[in-house]
């Protein structure tokens, strides 16, 4: 985060003007989600994806990457709470901004190969409720993340926009993790 949320942004002169700045990022984010979903739906799934040495299958690679990404997402929420002063008796240390930035970057960059493997190898699928939810949320996540990144440097937005965007991104990622890695580990066993 380059913007320090608690650095008292200038009070919006016009709330509608501030919200207007959300339009373009939201459209771009929606386009990202839509593009991923359409690609996943149109591309013929190969069922075969790249694997990484030391893992028994691509499913495990993805599950572990997603799990680590979710861990960093939890760090995201924790550091954000500290930055916003929502944790009683905890003053934000100087490095909290960097922690928030880097945990977010790592989580995002871990999630990208997982998503590509899903979209390329499996595609957008609807054959069960879990899979449908996972497909929809997976596409929505990258749209929501795009929106959050695009509104991050903007000044003059209402104070609730960033926390809301962050909460949506986090909630999506956790829901994605539950409908994939959690299911995978509980089905096939917790190992590499």
């Amino acid at each position: 985060m380059t913007a320090q949320p608690d650095a008292s942004p200038p009070a919006p002169v016009d709330v509608s003007l501030g919200l207007g700045k959300l339009v373009v990022p939201s459209l771009i984010g929606g386009l990202v989600a839509l593009t991923l979903g359409v690609y996943g739906g149109l591309h013929h799934p190969t069922g075969v994806v790249v694997n990484i040495a030391g893992f028994s299958s691509a499913g495990y690679v993805k599950s572990w990457l997603a799990t680590v990404a979710t861990f960093f997402a939890i760090v995201q929420v924790g550091s954000a709470l500290v930055m916003y002063g929502k944790i009683p008796r905890v003053t934000a240390p100087s490095w909290i901004g960097r922690l928030h930035q880097w945990s977010g970057r790592i989580a995002f960059l871990l999630a990208v190969p997982v998503a590509i493997n899903c979209l390329y190898g499996l595609g957008f699928q609807t054959y069960s409720t879990r899979v449908l939810i996972h497909s929809v949320l997976g596409c929505a996540f990258f749209g929501a993340f795009t929106i959050k990144m695009l509104i991050l440097p903007k000044r003059g937005l209402p104070g609730w926009t960033l926390p809301l965007a962050g909460a949506v991104v986090f909630t999506l990622l956790v829901a994605i993790w539950f409908t994939s890695a959690f299911w995978f580990f509980s089905t096939f066993g917790l190992h590499r």
């Binding site: 799934p45 790249v50 691509a58 970057r105 995002f108 595609g123």
Partner: protein
């Protein structure tokens, strides 16, 4: 637009995504699609070991371990625990202490230990079905000449197709993901155990007698279809008395196929309705040779 750090993050992700996508497209795994139980043991034994379904990694450089999941290759599957040394934690539970000779790789050598079993007690053609002793699963085994096919599922996430050779009253069948079956069979029943998804299922399966009464006989049923572009493979173990246990695998050719409960197999029509598609099940029988 000014290049801000969040934008750099997004663009980095985009570049990474494109990179992984290209790596996936170039992956040799795509050329050699993982074939499941379709390949015969003899064919894979004589042929070259197929390429590991992942030799390119996003990071490059690191050579991918041949996953233990390419279990249709007898050379690896019959000795799965030993060969998958790069992933020791994965299939260690499947390690049977008695790693006997691989049946597919050495078809000519009859194990001396089993030579004492009277040949008359070993049916050349037989079908066995039973529920597993635990785990709520069911298993079906069909022996036809020197070949055997087995299927085990629990009606949920566990499903394993296995195949191999039948010799001197013993079956050592293998399947994907380290699935393995070790059974002794006689004219009365087949007893032994099966490893699937890291769990061991024991059973004692009686011989199936074909009592025809208009219904489909007990045994092993299989159906494949493409539903909404996804190749699915369903398997049902139909038990004497008509009860059944069935699971369906999605992306049936992939190494770890997501598995769920199969739709009910109608034993009068031999069909099942799945997501608006009629699955036509075929009987795999050692007695009649169908499916072999």
């Amino acid at each position: 637009m000014k290049l801000t750090m969040p934008l750099v993050t997004l663009l980095t992700g985009l570049a990474l995504g494109v990179g992984v996508l290209i790596a996936s497209m170039l992956s040799p795994a795509n050329a050699a699609s993982a074939n499941g139980y379709g390949a015969t043991a003899a064919a894979s034994a004589s042929g070259a070991v197929k390429p590991a379904p992942a030799s390119s990694t996003p990071g490059g450089g690191a050579s991918a371990a041949a996953p233990a999941t390419s279990a249709t290759t007898p050379a690896t599957s019959t000795t799965t625990p030993a060969t998958s040394t790069t992933a020791p934690a994965i299939t260690s539970t499947t390690a049977p202490a008695s790693s006997t000779t691989a049946p597919a790789t050495a078809p000519g050598t009859a194990p001396a230990a089993t030579a004492s079993v009277p040949k008359a007690d070993i049916p050349p053609k037989a079908d066995y079905v039973a529920r597993t002793d635990s785990g709520g699963g069911a298993v079906a085994i069909s022996v036809h000449g020197g070949k055997a096919v087995a299927y085990m599922c629990n009606g949920h996430a566990v499903a394993a197709w296995l195949k191999g050779t039948a010799k001197a009253g013993k079956l050592e069948l293998t399947g994907k993901n380290g699935a393995r079956l070790d059974v002794s069979y006689r004219t009365g029943k087949a007893t032994g155990s099966l490893m699937a998804d890291g769990h061991k299922y024991s059973f004692s399966a009686p011989l199936v007698h074909r009592g025809s009464s208009g219904h489909r006989p007990p045994g092993l049923y299989e159906a494949t279809a493409t539903v909404h572009g996804v190749k699915i493979k369903a398997g049902w173990v139909v038990l004497p008395g008509g009860s059944q246990v069935g699971s369906v695998e999605y992306f049936a050719d992939s190494n770890v196929a997501p598995t769920a409960q199969a739709p009910v197999l109608n034993l009068t029509t031999g069909t099942a309705q799945y997501d608006g598609v009629t699955l036509v099940a075929s009987l795999i029988s050692g007695l009649t040779g169908s499916g072999f």
